[in-house]
């Protein structure tokens, strides 16, 4: 690539940095200087290349806003360069004007096939050159502005979705979901489906005494503290929060995106919840003289996942036997205890060594026809 000719540079009166940048590709130095002068006089920043190879290098290094391309060039010809620019998404939007001989219809047809945006005939007439360049420039700038607006709107939309999602799923999971928006298999777009889920139910032991003995505004503040630490633990391990009611929290793993280590994530989340809540419980004990703790029930099984509700109100919901079982186990769990169904415990067996594990035998749970093997895990 050669620098802008002295004459053209002088004529352009040192175009501002934001000047419209045009690359002129022509192996004839007189034609190059001629085009530089005319475009420079219009305040455009003109760069030049005298062959196909240097033109491609220049475009890749610093994409111009328009290319004036002679058809006949040493090395790669104008058609090849044009076709390459138009086939690459990074350069496809750069307008290309092919310079051809007036009577050369064949070149024009080849140029159209190569994706040229316009043609300029030799002899090049000043008025025609400027009219074509300015028209394409306006088109290009309008297209660029629309693209910028579209991108800004897209960013804004995704940010709004991210904020909304981040209240229900972990921030990392929210990012993955947003990243897959628009694809056919994006989470939350599918109809309800059956899938294996690890359900974690957490409940505050001693909540009744809190509501009976402590002033309402304190209760709300305490619940916020409680849910804050449990939510952090759930998100830390990328669980999806399905429901928060009273003092109970329902979290699912392996949904809406598959998690091959869902059982392990659930166990770590449960242990994390108990550990994170311990200092909160200690503070409550000091402040209010009450004993509290988190009771957790967990179950693995097939459940129905999907958006449930009416056209006016929808909820991303998990329903099915593992939810009921986890709820029953939670009701049985003592403070700082995790009760796990037998199926889930089998998946966790190698992970709980070193912890206090207590088999509770087969337990009859309300609503279950068969007793369920239950294991208690403590920190």
């Amino acid at each position: 690539m050669t620098a802008v000719t002295d004459l053209a540079a002088a004529a352009s009166r040192a175009p501002a940095q934001s000047a419209f940048r045009v690359l002129v590709v022509d192996d004839d130095p007189d034609m190059t200087r001629f085009l530089c002068l005319l475009l420079g006089n219009e305040g455009m920043a003109v760069e030049t290349a005298s062959d196909g190879e240097s033109a491609m290098r220049s475009i890749v290094a610093s994409p111009p806003e328009m290319v004036l391309l002679d058809v006949l060039l040493p090395g790669r010809g104008g058609f090849e360069i044009c076709a390459r620019l138009k086939s690459d998404p990074a350069t496809a939007l750069i307008p290309v004007i092919l310079i051809t001989a007036l009577e050369d219809r064949e070149s024009r047809v080849r140029g159209i096939k190569a994706g040229a945006d316009d043609f300029l005939s030799k002899p090049v007439r000043r008025e025609e050159l400027l009219a074509r360049v300015q028209t394409l420039r306006r088109l290009h700038e309008t297209r660029r502005e629309l693209e910028a607006r579209r991108l800004a709107a897209e960013v804004q939309r995704k940010e709004a979705i991210r904020k909304a999602f981040s209240r229900y799923v972990s921030p990392r999971l929210a990012e993955r979901i947003i990243g897959s928006l628009g694809s056919e298999d994006a989470p939350f777009r599918e109809p309800a489906q059956r899938t294996d889920v690890v359900v974690l139910f957490a409940d505050l032991r001693g909540f009744t005494s809190i509501t009976e003995s402590i002033e309402v505004h304190h209760v709300v503040h305490m619940l916020n503290e409680y849910f804050a630490v449990l939510t952090e633990a759930a998100y830390q391990h990328e669980g999806t929060i399905f429901n928060m009611a009273g003092d109970s929290l329902l979290v699912g793993f392996n949904v809406p995106l598959p998690q091959p280590d869902a059982a392990e994530r659930a166990l770590r989340a449960a242990i994390d919840m108990i550990a994170r809540f311990a200092p909160v419980a200690a503070a409550w004990r000091r402040r209010h003289g009450i004993a509290t703790g988190v009771g957790i029930g967990m179950c693995l099984g097939e459940a129905i996942i999907g958006n449930v509700g009416s056209p006016h109100y929808m909820s991303y919901t998990v329903v099915g036997d593992p939810v009921n079982t986890a709820a029953r186990l939670t009701a049985m769990a003592q403070a700082d205890e995790v009760l796990v169904s037998g199926t889930l415990f089998d998946a966790l067996r190698s992970l709980v060594s070193g912890r206090r594990v207590e088999p509770r035998g087969d337990v009859a749970l309300r609503g279950k026809s068969e007793p369920v093997p239950v294991y208690a895990i403590r920190l």
Partner: protein, 101 residues
């Protein structure tokens, strides 16, 4: 051929480019003569094509006309016509007079 000058009117906005343009035409004439002596028709065709494109853009229509004739003569291998056109080009360049307007 007579001794009359060839008058060309050129946009005054191009005035700064003309000295180099004319200098390049003279180099071009030498290249044409060398190519003709070597019977390098491909080189003659390329030079003719270039003359055709650049001449009338600057306002030198005759340069384009001669270029077209040279390009066609090179394509058909018509050495006599090429000799005539190149001689004519030399004569033109020696007599051309430029007026800026």
């Amino acid at each position: 051929m007579n001794d009359a000058a060839y008058h060309v009117k050129v946009d005054k906005g191009l005035a700064d480019l003309i000295p180099t343009f004319m200098s390049n035409r003279k180099k071009e004439l030498e290249a044409l003569r060398a190519a003709l002596a070597a019977a390098d028709f491909e080189q003659l065709r390329q030079l003719g094509h270039r003359m055709r494109g650049v001449g009338n853009s600057y306002g030198f229509d005759r340069v384009s006309d001669i270029g077209r004739s040279i390009e066609e003569g090179a394509k058909s291998g018509d050495k006599a016509s090429l000799e005539q056109q190149i001689a004519h080009y030399g004569e033109y360049l020696s007599r051309v007079q430029i007026a800026y307007e």
